[in-house]
């Protein structure tokens, strides 16, 4: 049998769903960020798969940009979490409710 884009998309969807459900149940910020990375990884797989399907390198270029944005966002989010930890000694996002309306 020959492989189609559906096989890769199946993996991609599976990873994304797993990452999203992990993201929704987590209480501490670092684990949420890790599940976010999992979701971004799933999207990257689909990008490269579509690039292979169409035979051009645009998928790779967008992959590069997604990785760049993921790296920047991880670094800044971790810096924010460190600051949150310094203020409150806790990284549970349930406790960060000061701005709650």
């Amino acid at each position: 049998m020959s492989f189609s884009i559906a096989h890769i998309l199946f993996i991609c969807f599976g990873l994304f769903v797993i990452g999203a459900s992990g993201f929704l149940i987590r209480k501490n910020a670092i684990s949420m960020l890790i599940c976010l990375e999992l979701m971004l990884n799933a999207v990257n797989i689909s990008l490269v798969g579509f690039g292979r399907m169409h035979g051009n390198e645009g998928g790779h270029s967008l992959y590069f940009l997604v990785i760049t944005v993921a790296a920047c966002e991880t670094a800044i989010a971790l810096a924010i979490i460190l600051n949150l930890f310094r203020l409150r000694r806790s990284i549970r996002l349930d406790d960060a409710t000061v701005l709650k309306g």
Partner: protein, 174 residues
């Protein structure tokens, strides 16, 4: 069943299993370590697709730098389970709801464009020069050079931002 198909099924199963381990292990350090395994399996999947440069970048940047950052922060914070808010149960409700949503979207797309699942063969044929370093750089650095430069500026801004944010405050803010 040739070697490529076996490899693809094994890698797919590994990806989903390690993804589940990442998302549902209570301690963040275990999540981070399984995330490394997930990224290496993803890199292997890229090699199977013929995207060699992307595979190496996945290990270099994602598994070798971003997850190192996560590991550092987890080790530095060194929180006890009280502060972490551990969850040990697999959230079957969330998984079922999300899978259902995605399946519904997929079915709508299948009805709207009937040949979605009969896509072009992806693995069965040779990639030609696709995915090699030369072809990638020809496209990325000539056609998408503005994106490349903007990515560089974005990284510079992130470095400056992190330097400012993580700088140890000498005087404590009240």
């Amino acid at each position: 069943m040739n070697l490529q198909e076996i490899a693809f099924y094994i890698l797919g199963a590994l990806l989903l299993i390690t993804g589940g381990l990442v998302a549902f292990r209570p301690k963040p350090i275990e999540s981070a370590l399984w995330l490394i395994v997930n990224f290496i399996c993803t890199s292997a999947l890229y090699v199977l697709l013929g995207a060699h440069f992307v595979a190496v970048i996945q290990v270099l940047v994602y598994a070798g730098a971003i997850v190192v950052l996560f590991t550092f922060v987890i080790m530095l914070l060194n929180l006890n389970p009280q502060e972490l808010g551990l969850t040990a149960a697999v959230p079957w409700t969330s998984i079922v709801l999300l899978t259902g949503t995605v399946a519904v979207i997929f079915l709508c797309l299948h009805v709207a464009t009937p040949d979605l699942l009969k896509g072009l063969p992806v693995l069965a044929e040779d990639a030609g020069g696709w995915g090699t370093l030369e072809n990638f750089s020809k496209v990325f650095l000539i056609k998408y050079v503005w994106s490349f430069e903007i990515a560089g500026i974005l990284l510079l801004m992130a470095v400056l931002g992190v330097g400012l944010l993580a700088h140890h405050q000498e005087k404590k803010a009240v």
